[in-house]
Symmetry: C2
Subunit: 121 residues, 2 copies
Amino acid sequence: MRLLIYKFLAEKKVAVTLSDTENAFVKADRTTLYRTIKTFVENDIVHQIDDGTGTIKYALCEVGCSCDIKTDLHLHFYCSNCNETVCLTDHKIPQINVPEGFISENVNLVVKGICNKCSSM
Amino acid sequence: MRLLIYKFLAEKKVAVTLSDTENAFVKADRTTLYRTIKTFVENDIVHQIDDGTGTIKYALCEVGCSCDIKTDLHLHFYCSNCNETVCLTDHKIPQINVPEGFISENVNLVVKGICNKCSSM
DNA sequence: TATGTAAATGCACTTCCTTTGCATTATTTT
DNA sequence: AAAATAATGCAAAGGAAGTGCATTTACATA
Ligand SMILES: [Mn+2]
Ligand SMILES: [Mn+2]
Ligand SMILES: [Zn+2]
Ligand SMILES: [Zn+2]
């Protein structure tokens, strides 16, 4: 199961929801898929993406990723036309300044708009 | 109802959930609160905040706000200690570069960490 | 190979939040 | 006052995340 799901995620170029996975593996129970992905997340194999749609999406981490805030946080792009979310792994999140007294531990940056595929149609 | 909810939001310094509003107006139905806030959102009086907690939060827009991507988008800070989300209206979101072909229409930037109140305790 | 142990799976169920349909009530307009 | 429009309350639906428990499968080792 883990190998199958890993393969599924690797072949996808976009982030997927649990439902997407469910549709791809109709014979497997939703709970199994859920817990498998959860295991991946806990072991820094997959990262979660909250793109504002209300449904968590998942994508494989880059090779060598340790989900570190300094080095691995990248920008996500959500296309409001095709509803797909892509990792822009080459676009690291810039340094964000917070007011005195605030301590930042994590940053989530989602750009919403039209993706390259949709804008060229 | 609209005046009451507006006043409630204006007095709050932090973003509130629908549940928060429900607790503040126990005599009103949650649907009414929901739809009132929805009206505010649709008329750029209130903006929605997705801070990653899974529950949408709401906050009054600044005076003169038109929810414009260029001028009005600001940073949000979610404190994982007190679970409060604040608008950092003075901290505008920096220019984000997206790859060729992508068109950005909106940006959501949430910093997660410890807020000033919690860090000073 | 047999058997005991640990891990993985499936099912049912819960919880939380958002949203909608529809009947009722209140408000505004003519 | 009557008609039209808007606001409210109740009930229910829907989606998604998460959990408890029994069962099945895989694995290690005697
Ligand atoms: Mn990503
Ligand atoms: Mn805000
Ligand atoms: Zn698209
Ligand atoms: Zn705090």
